[in-house]
């Protein structure tokens, strides 16, 4: 535990000691102690399930700690509700924005603190106050714009303004960059720095080490519900933080090596898919060869998900043609997911909770999804739990799934192990083409390394891989070629050698 001895004249913005919180049998937070210096940017980093969200929820009054004390600016307080957190000067920007999409920015900001009396008068007063705040902190937003018309990065600024308008002196940001382009992320960091200059304390929760290194002053690392280390950013490195998070040394880079592509396995020609209004996918063409990974980059919601579902047969294209191993699929000749699977295509879906697994099923049952008819599992009519369990045990051993218990409910595995179950199922089908969506979303660092190795290994065996991910780092570190999508269109395909975060980021933002 650090004692923050050097800055004794100023009380810490937040001082926690001995915070414990259990849910049933799970100890989500154990004896957490933490000091956050006023006017600093403090990062909290940890894997999924390390207890970051629980800790933040306690600070913001969603949960009450079982024991322990909280001091804010030197005063002992108890935070029993979000209202109490707000009045103590704590503001929060959630991972998923809490905005009314059809309201204007101004309406959204004053929602919940409208004041009494006529709305017009308080709106006028609020407008003045918010304009002042916006110029102080460099948070330029058009107050009369409708929120749903604004880009995500600007919506996030609205959230920050909302917290400041409520008098927040401590701002908590929970995984704020998940929905942002690299450029928007940089802009957010600028904003955070200017908040800090104005004396606002920022608590920055993330699992991305690069962001911790880029923007924070101090960092605290959580693992398994405990606070395992506090570091000054100037005195640490990503490798050290990764090791602290996982509890063992981790290799982050350097899994990729040169590919040797073969014949074209998948070709998409001028694919189109219509949704309600604008086309979800428009004029997208590309090819993938055996033994290479085509990464598809893009900010979430720019057509990548739909593209993956088109290729997997879950959606039927409105225009264009897909050719897989010489077999063509078009609006007139659609193919069902099982037909596509029979062409040697495996699919690791983006949403493993709704699609990749059936959460209430046992791991063994989930590991059969999509392959119930294969001889390995049954003859198409009967369903043999014993064979299923035996098969699942084998897969679990091969893919290091923990705990290796085929009877355990799918929902009780950690994100990383759930993903390993899905990957094991799909890779064991020995596909010629693998479609992968968000392979490491919600997956801990240790498992990320494992999953990346599996993907590269599969590529080396001659499998063509289409990789969709919103994690640009992941795309950059695994792909042989990268296609960038924006607004349902392909912004171009770049070879690995010419791709970096900046060039891809500009394409993601739609700047060709």
């Amino acid at each position: 535990m650090t004692s923050a001895a050097g800055v004794a004249e100023m009380p810490a913005a937040i001082s926690l000691s001995g915070i414990c919180k259990t849910f049933g049998a799970v100890r989500a937070n154990q004896d957490i102690s933490l000091e956050i210096q006023a006017g600093s940017i403090h990062g909290i980093v940890g894997e999924n399930g390390a207890g970051k969200s629980t800790l933040v929820s306690i600070l913001y009054g969603f949960y009450t700690a079982d024991s322990g004390s909280i001091q804010v600016f030197g005063e002992d307080i108890s935070i029993g509700s979000t209202a109490e957190a707000i009045s103590a000067g704590i503001g929060m920007v959630h991972q998923h924005f809490m905005l009314v999409p059809t309201f204007t920015v101004l309406e959204n900001i004053i929602l919940g603190s409208e004041g009494s009396g006529g709305l017009q008068r308080s709106m006028a007063r609020a407008r003045e106050e918010i304009t002042r705040l916006a110029s102080t902190y460099g948070l330029t937003v058009d107050l009369d714009a409708i929120v749903s018309d604004l880009p995500v990065g600007v919506q996030q600024r609205v959230e920050i303004l909302k917290a400041l308008y409520r008098g927040a002196r401590i701002l908590i940001l929970d995984e704020p960059t998940g929905v942002l382009t690299p450029q928007e992320t940089d802009q957010l960091f600028e904003i955070l720095r200017s908040l800090k200059e104005q004396g606002v304390t920022v608590l920055f929760i993330t699992h991305k080490l690069r962001e911790i290194m880029a923007v924070t002053d101090q960092v605290s690392v959580m693992r398994g519900g405990e606070m395992v280390a506090h570091r000054n950013i100037s005195a640490t490195s990503p490798a050290e933080l990764a090791e602290l998070m996982v509890g063992r040394p981790v290799l982050i880079e350097g899994i990729w090596h040169e590919a040797s592509p073969g014949n074209t396995v998948l070709a998409a020609e001028r694919l189109g898919l219509d949704g309600g209004g604008a086309p979800l996918i428009d004029e997208v063409s590309f090819e993938v060869r055996a033994g290479e990974i085509l990464g598809i980059a893009g900010v979430s919601g720019n057509g990548q998900s739909e593209l993956l579902e088109l290729l997997a047969g879950i959606r039927v294209p409105t225009r264009g043609q897909i050719t897989i191993n010489g077999h063509s699929i078009s609006p007139d000749q659609p193919a069902s997911p099982s037909m596509i699977r029979s062409l040697g295509v495996a699919h690791v879906p983006e949403d493993r909770h709704a699609m990749g697994l059936v959460l209430p099923f046992s791991a063994a049952e989930s590991a059969a999804l999509g392959y119930e008819h294969t001889p390995e599992i049954g003859d198409g009519f009967w369903f043999d739990p014993a064979r299923l369990n035996a098969r699942c045990s084998r897969l679990m051993a091969d893919f290091d799934v923990r705990p290796p218990d085929p009877a355990l409910k799918s929902s009780l595995f950690s994100g990383g192990n759930q993903q390993k179950i899905v990957l094991a199922r799909e890779i064991s089908a020995k596909p010629g083409l693998l479609l992968v969506g968000q392979p490491t979303r919600g997956v801990d660092i240790g498992a990320i390394e494992f999953i990346h190795r599996q993907l590269i290994g599969l590529r080396d065996q001659g499998c063509a891989i289409v990789l969709v991910s919103v994690e640009l780092d992941e795309i950059l570190s695994l792909s042989d070629r990268i296609m960038v999508m924006n607004g349902g269109q392909s912004m171009g395909i770049i070879d690995r050698g010419r791709a970096d975060a900046r060039s891809v980021g500009l394409l993601m933002a739609g700047v060709a």
Partner: protein, 373 residues
């Protein structure tokens, strides 16, 4: 819906027992309030359901109805479909069975008529389940609404036919003529007495054996066939089923047909087993009680058989209560059944948080005692 983290034996064993106990305690308090001794009343009920001559037979007879309708609800529920239409599906099952029996009994030997009539009960029930299933799958009409509507339609069709073209000539009540001699299912006391085991007279018939067979078949279907696997997957996540390459719409229709067929089989017990003619309202609410049976039996055939026994005993023992006590009326018995449905159906998880807390306290205490805290 809240999911429990209790071990299985507590979830499917202890919790239902606590629920039934709670229902009986409340019922007992009410009986005490009207001036009767609840313990005496309980004894009368137990004797009425199990001890008196023929009582057990009646209890099992009623249980047979509940097993069929309970299974029907359970199968649909595994696909997350709430089939409220057991009542109508059972009525149509009776109609299908009756049509075959009435048409063929002049020309075919009795056993052949029975063999042909039994599947017809299932087929008619299946059709009456399939139509709402189709409407749900292809048109998005909610299954709860449509199955309720189909109960009314079935009831009206039955009145129209039984008071019309199917009504036996020369009589006034809305029912068909009796089937030919031997067109029915053998009663158990006849069979047992024939092989030398004495058994009191009761309406219990071979349908009970068929119901047990259906329970086993449902278990096999749900947990030992590919179709059952996909039905369960549909119930949990339609997206996962699409991903796996199946059509949830198709599965919904198949499931509703199976569900309707099981409800339709209830007619075997009442029509082939006892009446040997089609009468009006022979379903008398068993289709609805099947919902409570399935809820209480946690949609598992074993649980459904146990819950059916309980409800059968309530029906039979309740009638005895009504008979023995001046103050306890038929309505009072309905109230006790209502309480059981309330506690084990609607409030099934009411004691869950308490039980969970206690359980974790015990587990923690043990861990502490072992010294790994």
């Amino acid at each position: 819906m809240m999911r429990t983290s209790l071990p299985a034996w507590m979830d499917i064993g202890l919790l239902p027992l606590i629920n039934i106990l709670a229902a009986f305690v409340v019922a007992g308090v009410i009986i005490a309030m009207i001036g009767e001794n609840p313990f005496v009343a309980l004894m009368v009920m137990l004797k009425g359901a199990f001890v008196y001559k023929g009582a057990l037979g009646y209890t099992l007879f009623y249980a047979t109805n509940f097993i069929f309708t309970g299974l029907a609800v359970a199968v649909a529920f595994h696909a997350m479909l709430f089939n409220i239409g057991g009542e109508g599906q059972a009525a149509m099952g009776g109609l299908g069975l009756g049509l075959v029996a009435l048409a063929l009994d002049p020309v075919l030997p009795a056993f052949l008529v029975v063999l042909l009539a039994i599947p017809m009960a299932a087929v008619f029930g299946a059709i009456w389940g399939l139509i709402p299933g189709w409407l749900q799958a292809r048109r998005g009409s909610h299954i709860v609404i449509t199955t309720i509507m189909f109960n009314f339609i079935a009831a009206s069709v039955m009145v129209w036919l039984l008071a019309g073209m199917l009504m036996a000539p020369g009589q006034m009540s809305p029912e068909t003529r009796s089937f030919a001699d031997g067109v029915g299912l053998a009663q158990m006391h006849v069979i047992f007495n024939a092989i030398g085991i004495p058994m009191a007279r009761s309406p219990l018939n071979l349908s009970f054996v068929i119901a047990l067979g259906a329970s086993f078949a449902v278990w096999v279907l749900i947990w030992r066939t590919r179709l059952g696997y996909i039905i369960r997957a549909t119930g949990h996540s339609e997206r996962a089923v699409i991903y796996a390459g199946h059509s949830p719409q198709r599965i919904i229709m198949i499931t509703m047909a199976i569900s309707g067929a099981l409800a339709g089989l209830m007619a075997l017990n009442e029509i082939l087993g006892v009446q040997q003619r089609v009468i009006l309202n022979f379903t008398s609410g068993y289709g609805f009680t099947g919902i409570a049976v399935a809820l209480m039996g946690r949609n598992h055939p074993v649980g459904i058989i146990l819950a059916s026994l309980l409800f059968g005993a309530l029906y039979q023992g309740g009638a005895e209560l009504d008979f023995e006590f001046q103050t306890i009326t038929r309505e009072m018995v309905l109230m006790i059944q209502g309480l059981i449905i309330l506690f084990s159906g609607a409030l099934a998880y009411m004691f869950n948080p308490v039980l969970e807390k206690l359980y974790h306290l015990v587990v923690f205490a043990r861990q502490e005692a072992r010294g790994d805290g």
